[in-house]
Structure formats: C-alpha cells, structure tokens
Amino acid sequence: MSALKIKKGSSRHSAYNLRPQFSDVQETHTLAVIVDNEPGVLARVIGLFSGRGYNIDSLTVAEVDHTGHTSRITIVTTGTPQVIEQIKAQLGRIVPVHEVHDLTVEGASVERELALLKVAGEGEKRVEALRLADIFRAKVVDSTLTSFVFEITGGPEKIDAFADLMRPLGLHEMARTGVAAMSRGV
C-alpha cells in the first residue's frame, strides 16, 4: 500500500483522517441512523449496503419516537476507513435519513445485544449449564426436564463467549437480536 502522503499543513482534519489513501486496515464501526419510520426505509438502507458492496455484521431497527415517526437503525459494519466514511456519507444521502452517528468515533458508547439460547441435556451437563448461566447472569426463561432457554444480554463478545461454553453442553438453537448501541453521557 502507498505510504502516508500528507503534505504538512495541507489538511485541516484531525489525525483520524490522516491515513494513506488506500489504507486496507479493516475497522469495525457501529452506526446509529435515525430515519423516518416510513415504508421501504429499511430496504433503502439494506439496498445501499448490497448495491455498493458494503458489509453488514449486524443490523437492528425499531421505532423509537412514535409521535415523530422516527426509527433508529443500529448497524455494525466492517471496512477500510475510506469505505466507512463512504458508508456514512451514502447513508446521509438517503432522503428519509435524519442523522448518522458513528458511535465508534464519537466518544465512548455502550453496546448491548440480547440472545436466547436453547440448551438440551441431562445430568451433569445440565447442572453445568445452569452454573455457567449464573456466572454470565443469564436468566432461565423456559425450562423442561430436558432443556433450558436462557436469556442473556451483553456485548456481542460476551454472548459469543457464552454460546461457545454452551456448545459442548448441548446448545440446540440460538436467536440474537443484533446490537443496540448508544453513546455514554449526554
């Protein structure tokens, strides 16, 4: 890749923007997009990602302001810094999009995801699953003599870790909501 070729004083941008033109470093960013809650708006956002070849790692959407008819879409995406900048600019062009926030660069933020995991097993494995669930602060929301459904919330890594532990104990099925994220402070 080409070397960092920035002439001194030629850019008034923060160091964040000072990178080689074709940097191939892959970064993961979490974007919060405030949109009009109207038909087709999700299709526009998804169509942008597929049409321009961007990645979606996770996407969640729900109405957050009933009177203002706005929804919040949280997208976790991966790409080079230039692609991430493009994604934000392209999202900003969509007419029903009001705001695009890059939570990864706009200061500290919290990310949470909810998952349901069905674990089937008997005897020692069943006890072990319950014990681990306790450590992860997962709740039992359904129980039969041969299975549990655990509800767990946390960052994606925590859920990954919990799922990895449940796998040998009889992980049967998993449903994840995708990431909801918000900046810290006001």
Binding site: Q90, G92, V95
Partner: protein, 584 residues
C-alpha cells in the same frame, strides 16, 4: 377554503402549482383518471412519446436545457419498467425529474394483478427517492415534496407511484405553500475554513488548474458566471468533464478543452502536472482519473461538491468543501478579493508556457483526404456552419459522442445534452425532442451514431406529430464504432458483433414518417447537405456516411495514467497492457 378534489385532479393541480407546463408521457390503464383530467384542461401540455424510455429521456433533455425539473407520466407495470433506464440515466447525471407512475388499486397490490409491478421496489436504487401513495389525502403533499427533493441538493429523479383507487378517491388539496416542510435541506453554504484554505492554496499555486463538472451547470447560471469571473480574475487554466462543457466558454482564453479518456492532450497533461487541482462539481469519475495511483501525483486537491459522498469517494481530497457551487464560488471570490487578489502570476505565466507547448501537439489534428468523409470533418463543418445559431446539441453514446465533445464548442451552459454517467445509447433522439419542446425556435441537433439512433427511432412519430424540427445528424459508419475500436485495441481485432447489419435506408425511413431524409457521402457535398438540413423547417434524418474504421483519439487506455495518452494510430500498437483489458 378547503378544496376537495379527486386524486387525479389533485395531480394536475399540484403540477400546475409547481409551475409545470409540459409533461412527457404515455397512457395506460392505471393512469386513465389522470389522463382524463389532462384532457379537460389547457395549462399543462402533454407530449405523447412512443415509448416510456423516451419519455424519461425527453424530460431529461427538457430539464438539462432549461434547469427546471422534467415531468413524466406513465402507466403501471411495463410503463414503469420501461422508464427504469431513463431513471438510472438521470440519477447518474443528477438530472431533476418527477416521474408519476400509475399503479394497480391498493387492494390489488401484491396479487400479481394485470400490469402490476413492484414499481417502488424496482426503482428504489435508481431514484433519489420514491413514494407509493396509499391515501389520497397525502397525495398533494407528496407531489410538492417530490419537487423539493428532485431539485434541492444534488438534483435527481424521483418517482411517485399512484394506485388507481387513490386517483379516484377524493380528499382535500394542499397547495405548495401549506405543504409540510421536508427535513431534507442540504447544506448550500460552504464551510468558511475550507474556503479560506482554498484561497490560501490558490494564492501560492504555481501550476493550478480548475477542473469543472456537471455540478456547475446543475447549480444554475450564476455558478457559470462566477466560475468565469474566478478564472478571468486569476488566470488559471480550466478544463471540464464531458458533463460540464459550456460552464466555461470554449472561446474563453483560459479554456483547455475537455479532459479524460478522450480528452485533449493539453488538458490531461495539465491535470497530471498541476500542483493545485480545484475540482468544482465533478466527481473524479473513472473516465477522468484513469489509473488512480498515478492520478495527478503532485497536486493538492480541492473539491467543491454539494454531495458529501462525492468527496473522498475515489480520490483523497486535501481541501473538501461541501456546498452549492454558486454559493461557494461567491465566497471564494469574496475571500480572495478581501485578501488582496493575490496569485503567483510569474509561476502561472510559466505554467501557461508549458501548456502552450502541450497545445502545439495539436492532438485533434486530422487530415480530410480521399473520397470518404471523416467523422471529425463532418463535425468540424457542422460546428462552422451552426456556430452562430441559437444551438442546442444532444448526442447518443459512442465515438460520435466523444468527437462531438472534442470538435463542437460550447460557450454557454445548458446547451449540451449527453448521457455521461450511464452511457445510454438511445438517449439523444428523445432528449432532442425534450429540448425542442422547451426551445421551439432554437436549432436542436442530435449528433448520433446509426446504432445508437436506431435504439429509439420510434420517436420519429413524436417529432412529426408535434412538428419538432429536430435534426438527427447520424455519423453512419455501419459499425458500433467504440466497441469496434476497443476490439481492435484490446481483443485482437476480432470484431465480434460490432457491425450494423441490415441497416434501413435512412432517407426512405425519414420519408416513411413524413420527415426529410438527406444522405451525404462525398466530402465535397457536405456543406451543401448540412445547409439543406438547417434550412428545412421540420425534422431531418441526416445520413452522413463516414469512414468506417476511424478511431477516436486522443485516448487514455484503461489502466494508464494521464500522461500515457495515445495520440494516433501509429502509437496504438501494444499500448494497452494485459490488465487494461479487464477494465471498461
């Protein structure tokens, strides 16, 4: 006073209130109520095309030559799908259009009804925005918003899909003054920090260049005027993309000619060698940049664009300015004047000396010899014989388009209508119809290739019906010239399907429609034939038989930088490396 009216009447009223006086369209089952309303009024003129694609291109021609949004009315299903090429074309070239489509009644949507298509789904990626109107009470508001969205910020096509029951039902009409203000309000004023940085760079620059694009024309006449003022005051050379021709006059003394793949040698060399590039309303398209890692290697790059996504998309920009061209240029001039009108005059004079050296290469030189008309000669004569007229030029897509851009000269904006981004063969003829509708007394010429022209030749019917004296200037080489050129250079001269077999007799074709047909094959007859075309009061098909194997030069081969131009046939051998063949 509340005004109850049917949805169909509301459409006509909203168009009227938006100042629309022409609609290009084609009727069908799902838009009959609107057509019924059009029948009962005289404010809005409806132009019946012969194919929905042509309606959209005609509206594009209308929009580009007037600066006002073009309006299209077509039916559901095939009417809407036929419009898709035009919508994509308008999106790529940022042309403001409002397209109204009929839709099956709301209660039938999703049932695979007759002439049903998921129009908003199909057109979502090829419009700036679109709406499916589910209730008549929202209809007038949506139409007003549609005009706002189409024309503000970076312009583009929008589409409103109107189910038939929504056209029949009644609701209260909302006039434009009372319509909801849309949150979509793009920034027009440029950031003063960026503008100051640009002026500072301008004051010091030794080898500056202004590179303009379609954005200058889209911004309006004020932008062209301010561009001229800036260039005249600073003495900076100016080049333009295909889309921006006419923003700075070709007769202006700072004009370098078009740049890019088939741009002029001096323009491309200056782009490569400059130390300050001021991109005004262009988007670093791949036809312009060539090989990216060798694109203008030593320059500071400033980029003025109303669309933030254009900035840093392809080329890293040192001085980004988001805003409307006219607003930004006004501020640039203000700041530059306030800081004492400084330029590095000595260095710029030297830079001009270098440019004059490049200019002496005379890259557009050709020799008209022998019994066959060279396409360049045909355009040179057309230019000479029409220069003094009130002239609008459209083109199709291919070699003739590039030659037209090279040999015709534009002194004003909105005079040049060509499909730049999408490269739509079949664009030019319907576009010329739209232009002639907007400018009934002007000379409107469509420079065409025979293959492109045949793609929308059904519009001869429209031209005759509305007595539109559009001149179809066809450079007939019986080839898909540009395809043939690439096959010659890149595919071992294997001319796969790139010739026009079974061509019609264009003179008889013209006569069959009731137009004038002129054929010219002898260079000695060319002037007289062109004059005959110009003097005829009505549509003309001019079949100009030209040299069949002429190539379009200069050319930057795919995968090469600006300073590796091909200038003539002698230099083309082994010019394109293996990797270049995969690029288009």
């Amino acid at each position: 006073m509340t005004r109850q009216m049917s949805g169909a009447k509301m459409v006509v009223q909203a168009l009227r209130d938006q100042g629309v006086n022409v609609v290009f369209g084609y009727p069908g089952g799902a838009v009959l109520p609107i057509y019924d309303e059009i029948f009962q009024q005289n404010d809005i003129r409806h132009i019946l095309v012969r194919h929905e694609q042509a309606a959209v291109h005609a509206a594009e021609g209308y929009a580009r030559s007037t600066g006002r949004p073009g309006v299209v009315l077509v039916t559901s299903g095939p009417g809407a799908t036929n419009a898709v090429t035009g919508l994509t074309d308008a999106l790529m070239d940022s042309i403001p259009l409002v397209v109204l489509t009929g839709q099956v009644p709301t209660f039938m949507i999703g049932n695979d009804a007759f002439q049903e298509a998921d129009t908003v789904g199909i057109t979502r990626p090829c419009t700036k925005h679109n709406w499916l109107v589910s209730d008549t009470k929202n209809l007038s508001d949506i139409i007003h918003q549609a005009f706002h969205v189409a024309t503000s910020g970076r312009p583009g096509p929008v589409l409103i899909d109107i189910p038939k029951d929504v056209q029949f039902a009644s609701a209260e009409y909302v006039p434009p003054q009372k319509a909801r203000t849309h949150h979509y309000q793009p920034q027009v004023k440029g950031d003063i920090e960026g503008i100051t940085d640009l002026v500072a760079a301008l004051e010091k620059a030794k080898r500056p260049i202004v590179y303009t694009g379609g954005g200058v024309i889209n911004s309006g006449p004020a932008a062209s005027q301010l561009l001229r003022e800036l260039v005249e005051a600073t003495g900076i050379p100016v080049t333009s993309t295909l889309m921006g021709l006419g923003a700075y006059p070709a007769s202006g003394k700072h004009w370098l000619g078009m740049l890019g793949m088939h741009g002029l040698y001096e323009a491309n060399m200056a782009m490569h060698g400059c130390d300050l590039m001021i991109n005004i309303g262009a988007r670093f398209d791949d036809r312009i940049t060539g090989r990216l890692d060798a694109f203008s290697p030593d320059s500071t790059k400033a980029h003025i664009d109303i669309d933030p996504s254009s900035i840093n998309k392809v080329i890293k920009t040192d001085i980004p300015i988001v805003g409307d061209i006219a607003h930004v240029l006004e501020d640039v001039l203000k700041v530059w004047k306030a800081r004492g009108r400084k330029v590095n005059a000595e260095a710029i004079a030297k830079w001009w000396g270098q440019i004059e050296d490049w200019r002496r290469v005379d890259c557009l030189k050709f020799t008209q010899s022998g019994p066959t008309i060279k396409p360049q000669y045909a355009l040179q004569r057309l230019e000479t014989l029409t220069r003094a007229r009130d002239r609008y030029i459209c083109t199709e897509v291919g070699q003739h388009q590039m030659w037209a851009a090279q040999y015709l000269r534009f002194d004003d904006p909105n005079r040049w209508m060509t499909s730049g981004g999408l490269g739509t063969m079949g664009y030019g003829f319907p576009a010329s119809i739209g232009v002639q509708i907007a400018h009934p007394d002007a000379l409107v010429i469509n420079v065409a290739g025979e293959a492109s022209w045949l793609m929308n030749m059904q519009e001869m019917g429209t031209a005759i019906q509305y007595r539109l004296p559009v001149k179809q200037f066809i450079l007939n080489n019986e080839r898909l010239g540009m395809v043939r050129q690439w096959q010659e250079l890149l595919h071992g001269e294997r001319y796969s399907h790139s010739w026009s077999e079974s061509l019609p007799d264009f003179v008889k074709l013209a006569e069959a429609f009731g137009a004038r047909g002129i054929q010219c094959r002898d260079p000695a007859d060319l002037d007289d034939a062109i004059m005959e075309m110009l003097d005829y009061d009505g549509p003309v098909i001019f079949d100009c038989l030209v040299e069949k194997h002429e190539n379009c030069f200069p050319m930057i081969p795919s995968g090469e930088p600006h300073n590796k131009m091909l200038l003539g046939e002698a230099s083309t051998k082994d010019a394109i490396k293996e990797g270049g063949a995969v690029l288009v």
